[in-house]
Symmetry: C2
Subunit: 405 residues, 2 copies
């Protein structure tokens, strides 16, 4: 009897959780498991803002995939996914193709610029390790260049963050801590540096409790962040952005560093493969399968699950992706064993903590508000938990955050 | 009786040696001493290639001027010199002006691009701490950007060093050591990186013994440096250089980093002030004074002293500048005390060691050739000696190079 072949695309939170759970749940003789990923490492997407600001080295936010998979049970293939042919049960890779009996699409998100002109060309996005490292180096180069020019260009010391959502705010928190270090390293006057957060919506951190939002804003303002709320970016240009000012006017904000942190969408492979999706996200069935395709699961950023309490999709987070990975692994094991009754995915929100830098955060945990140092500690516990869930205690020991006192 | 006012322009090797010797030789009541420098720190010009390559942090190559001057005896003024009006015994600064009875011009060298088109715009030069830091960051940014681009631009990983003289070779030695670190930091394949040395002259390190030159070239070649000797740079362009190829043809070498290390000249303030000079260097009298100006001394890179053995000027080095500073200090003390007989400056060449990176070097010392690890050790002794001469043992302790075993 031929063993079924399970192919998992992507080694982010969802894909890696699926793979590491599956390798425990099924035997070598039950199925072949293949994990496909562009890089030979997994990175903590939720820590990338730290690598981008330069407050945490990028090697601290990634680890070798082979460290956490059981290579006797899971074969790792390093490749980029180009297209999924669900009719033919085949995936087209950049270096070949691969067939499957069961497929898990766990490809990550991409930046969404909502068609705003010039943003793709002139703004950075915190999408992966390469991008984070480039942002860090770009900022450092701007600071290093400042003193070499006879006519000083203050815009080299200005950083615009587009978006006051989760990523934007966490990035600003790290930047606010990083700026004094940068000023020292590059002999730059602290008062010349500008951190500007531009947000089109009327509020910072939509969805958060107003008390927490106020705490975050006033904390970051004290650290030098200037908020331009209710201000839409009209265009990204070389050396800055154009924003709307009132109904008809526009204003230029000069900044050699513009980081767009205001939107993500599902992976473009989804649409390239002809799957029905909204901004690259597929509304999956209760068992996480693609409607009408009984051997294809989607977990993580490319899946869309409705929060029925408010009748809106859950935002794509590491938390939901990992919970999906657990269910997906159990459902795959069931299918391999010939069962037809699959488990329904239900999201259990354990809370959300938004960091404001190393020692400050705000959030909710198990329904309670947390603020300040206590929230920052909780954030580190959450970060370490992701490591633990995928790689167990040894991974926490290697990559965990222990500067907690 | 009014005290005479001695003004020293520049806190490089020559100026700082003059100031620190003078503060020991004359009493507070004998003269006012004012030291003018653009930055509040002195930097080791001969170590800048290390900071540029990123093998030594720029804070290791500089120290606070106030650490080595006796602030009861020497007043420090932070300012840039714009013009010297010798007729009026006045110096025009960027933030005021200052009059003097005796002047020491110890302004440093500037890069000389010999009118080669586009070099000023598109090439870096290792001229000061700001420039060194920018070169380091520029290279890092190029490496960081490489992996973010879908279409890889190998020229981001190419570094051209213009000139195979002392600075060019020392810089290449550091770069050769730095490249493996950069490849690791930025996930770049070592084999994609190119280090190219372009030199118009028919030989590397002109003036050095051929045996030493051969050693240096084959050592650096083994470390991956490609030498293009007898090849003139015709033009600096965005993303590379144009070189002569044969009599009539030209060739483009693509490289996002071009560092011009092939020439220095005296400071442009010299010419702006109407002093008779060749490429910013004034042929000084035997007592280091400017001919016809009995109260103006020049030491260091803006002075020109003929080596009578070969009837050519001594090249501007830290060694000669410091020896001039010692004589200049004694001559100033003599003048202040009303003496008219001044000491004649004679250069005592103690040898030259050209480093090829941390653990390798070539050179001559007291007439003997040295090579390899022994020469590298000697180089560190020389580097520490500069610190000792100006700041004594405490400065050596703070800033010295002790990784000598």
């Amino acid at each position: 009897m031929r063993k079924p072949k399970i192919v998992i695309l992507g080694a982010g939170y969802g894909g890696l959780m699926t793979a590491t759970r599956l390798q425990k749940q099924i035997g070598v003789n039950e199925a072949d498991i293949i994990l496909v990923n562009k890089n030979d490492y997994h990175y903590e997407t939720t820590w990338l803002h730290e690598a981008s600001a330069g407050t945490l080295h990028h090697d601290r936010v990634r680890y070798d995939i082979r460290e956490v998979i059981d290579t006797h049970k899971v074969e790792f293939v390093q490749a980029s996914v180009e297209e999924i042919k669900t009719e033919e049960n085949t995936v087209i890779l950049d270096n070949g193709e691969i067939s499957y009996d069961y497929l898990v699409i766990a490809l990550g998100a991409e930046a969404e610029t909502f068609g705003i002109k010039g943003l793709k060309e002139h703004a950075f996005t915190i999408v992966n390790v390469n991008a984070a490292r480039q942002i860090r180096e770009h900022i450092e180069y701007q600071f290093a260049t400042y003193n070499t020019e006879k006519e000083k260009k203050d815009e080299r010391l200005s950083i615009v963050v587009g978006g006051a959502g989760f990523t934007g705010i966490e990035f600003l928190g790290e930047l606010a801590n990083r700026i004094p270090e940068l000023c020292k390293e590059y002999d730059v006057d602290y008062h010349k540096v500008k951190l500007i957060c531009v947000e089109a919506a009327p509020t910072v951190l939509p969805g958060f409790d107003p008390e927490l939002v106020n705490y975050a804003v006033s904390y970051l303002e004290k650290k030098g962040v200037e908020f331009r709320i209710g201000t839409a970016i009209k265009e990204g240009i070389p050396g800055g952005i154009i924003v709307a000012k009132g109904e008809e006017e526009v204003e230029e904000i000069k900044a050699e560093t513009v980081v767009w942190a205001a939107g993500v969408r599902g992976n473009s492979v989804i649409e390239n493969s002809g799957l029905e999706a909204m901004r690259g996200r597929v509304k999956v069935a209760h068992d996480l399968r693609v409607p009408g395709k009984d051997n294809v699961f989607i977990v993580g950023d490319c899946s869309l699950v409705i929060n029925e309490e408010i009748n809106r999709p859950y935002p794509p987070t590491a938390q939901i992706a990992m919970q999906q990975g657990e269910v997906c692994a159990r459902n795959l094991a069931a299918l391999v064993r010939g069962k037809t009754e699959l488990e329904t995915f239900e999201f259990h929100n354990k809370g959300t903590v938004c960091s404001l830098g190393e020692d400050e955060a705000i959030g909710t945990a198990f329904g309670k508000k947390v603020i300040g140092g206590k929230a920052a500690l909780l954030k580190k516990v959450i970060d370490n938990r992701s490591l633990f869930m995928i790689g167990g205690p040894s991974l926490v020991f290697k990559k965990g955050k222990f500067n907690i006192f």
